[in-house]
């Protein structure tokens, strides 16, 4: 085991196994929900034995934590990259929405359901989510708003609350969609544009 090549091979294998298990977990969680899913379900999906799961994850909750881990939440990184650019407000706003709103679309928002559902009830998960997903998202947005505010592009409202309201809108729309709202489902792709508009201009009719 002192052979560094071997060691790194082992390591790579372990990483692969972890990924394999997480993929299975995501799939089954999305299908059946967290509490309804058994370790056996995941093991079967990953084509492993029950016990093997526990070599890579301490317990069932750790699987959910694993899903939230960095490599899988690359979302906000790409976003923050975008935020550095110099596009106009509407474009940036739209881009800000696009990522999260579309991210969950592929699996029909099932995974969103599972994660949020469990987050609401599990403290550790909640903190992780706040740190790894919500926090960065808010900070990124905040920085942007602050810059715009300094540039006099937007009115210097309470920025803390404003960015939280915007982020909340995204979360809330995902929530409503997850609850089976038909109207949202039908027009989902128009959301980024509509909302960006709403946030930038408000609902009030523009004075001529």
């Amino acid at each position: 085991m002192k052979d560094p090549v071997k060691a790194s091979l082992q390591e790579q294998l372990a990483v692969a196994r972890r990924a394999q298990i997480l993929d299975a977990a995501i799939k089954v969680f999305a299908q059946k929900g967290f509490h309804t899913t058994t370790i056996k379900d995941i093991a079967r999906e990953a084509d492993l034995a029950d016990g093997t799961i526990y070599k890579y994850f301490e317990n069932k909750t750790a699987l959910l934590l694993g899903i939230l881990e960095p490599p899988r939440t690359r979302a906000q990184q790409e976003m923050s990259f975008l935020l550095e650019s110099d596009a106009d407000i509407h474009s940036v706003m739209k881009a800000f929405m696009l990522q999260p709103l579309m991210a969950f679309k592929k699996d029909n928002f099932e995974l969103f359901k599972v994660i949020i559902s469990e987050i609401l009830v599990n403290q550790e998960l909640r903190e992780r989510f706040h740190q790894q997903v919500l926090g960065p998202m808010l900070q990124g947005g905040e920085a942007y708003l602050r810059r715009w505010s300094e540039q006099g592009v937007i009115s210097p409202q309470n920025i803390d609350l404003t960015i939280r309201a915007i982020a909340g809108m995204i979360l809330g729309l995902l929530l409503e969609q997850s609850m089976g709202d038909q109207t949202l489902e039908a027009q989902w792709d128009e959301l980024p544009d509509t909302i960006a508009s709403l946030i930038v201009n408000g609902i009030k009719k523009e004075p001529l």
Copy 2:
């Protein structure tokens, strides 16, 4: 038991008992979450025997459904009453926010957590919530927006999506708060005003 007086007494007692159980359930659910709460917990809190719960509720899920029942969700009714009035946009918007944002404040949003958490995972509950809470909220708001739109007060954007975005913002803020966001917690009471402003005017600086 053909005695009508006695009968109605019994009936009243039954109603009281139901309420007593629901109160206990709300309390314990809020403290421990749905899955973690046992029937025994609720029974103890209600100062009743386990079995008694089942005289009034078919099963554990029915307790959660009970929490969503009309008398306890009177919220949106009062709101819709408000919406009939002729106040200016900002005031109405603020009122629209006020109700839900404050409703859950008293129990530290714990109940919101539990309900949403379970809603995301339980179809029946989800449908009930959509029918009894979200639906009315959306319809009420939609009617308002439509009226304003006709009056030329607001720009005739996609109203369906707009109202959902607004409602989503409320839900999302509750969600962020439930996840332990400190900033929100500190400034919660300023939210209605800030958000109403945001929605009405947007973030863009007013052209002079």
Copy 3:
């Protein structure tokens, strides 16, 4: 309560109530089986409250015991009356079968199922049944066989075992029928004759 008329009235009422409850019990037991039937089922069928049952019967088992009580097991009395007569062997044998084989036919043998099923597992019930039903049946038959044996009509085989075999045949046929044997069901009415013949003559071809 010292009024003897009143007292006897009370008493008569009590007897009627008992009967009412037993009738209900018989009906529901036959429909659903002993273990599957709840006191509530019986109470509902008897149009009484649960608690009332317990004023007349100590517990659920007592209801089954009640079903076996004399007035309802008048069977063997009529039979023993028949046995006194001087008919030929075949007729008597046939009569001996007729009563029990037909008694349970009316409720589709469901009650037989329930009683036997529980008898096999409940000692007290077993003893009662042996005393009140099986015993008299055996004794009646035994007396008859003995008389015939003395008269030289039948061969003096082991009478104890013979009568038990005959009674067993009856029980066993009821059992087979209860198990859903189609052939038996179709030809049930021919049984008394066929069996009487079998017992009297055996299966062996008569020597010319």
Copy 4:
């Protein structure tokens, strides 16, 4: 686990475990009856954990079904073998009785009680019993009677009913014995002979 040696070992172990559990179940069921026996009772007797039972049997009823499974009901097969032979009627008849009458003697008929008791009340069990035990028994006997009838050894009575009456006699005797009849218990070993005689010749005195 692709190792075939290992796999077959596992398999053998599983079979053994099943047997171990069934043995325990038989023992406890015989002692306490089906409904009174808890899974814990069986687990304790088998020296296993409660949950382990469920790896091998779907539920409590499956344990009873297991008891009726082929390897344990090999009885009638041996009997049918006997029926092929060319012994005289009396011997065959006696053999026909011998097997079932003695099979249950070893455990004091307790198992018979439990099985029959539950069969009467459980449809699935009833069908299995009819298929696996009673059916073969009847068919075997029927074939025999029919052959004899063609050979002119026995009188061509209604063979369907006759074989059912004979089988019924066996069942009924087991039932009487199970109910605690002392006389039967004392003379149980003489039964096959006595009954064979009864069935072959009937009770009527032979005409000289």
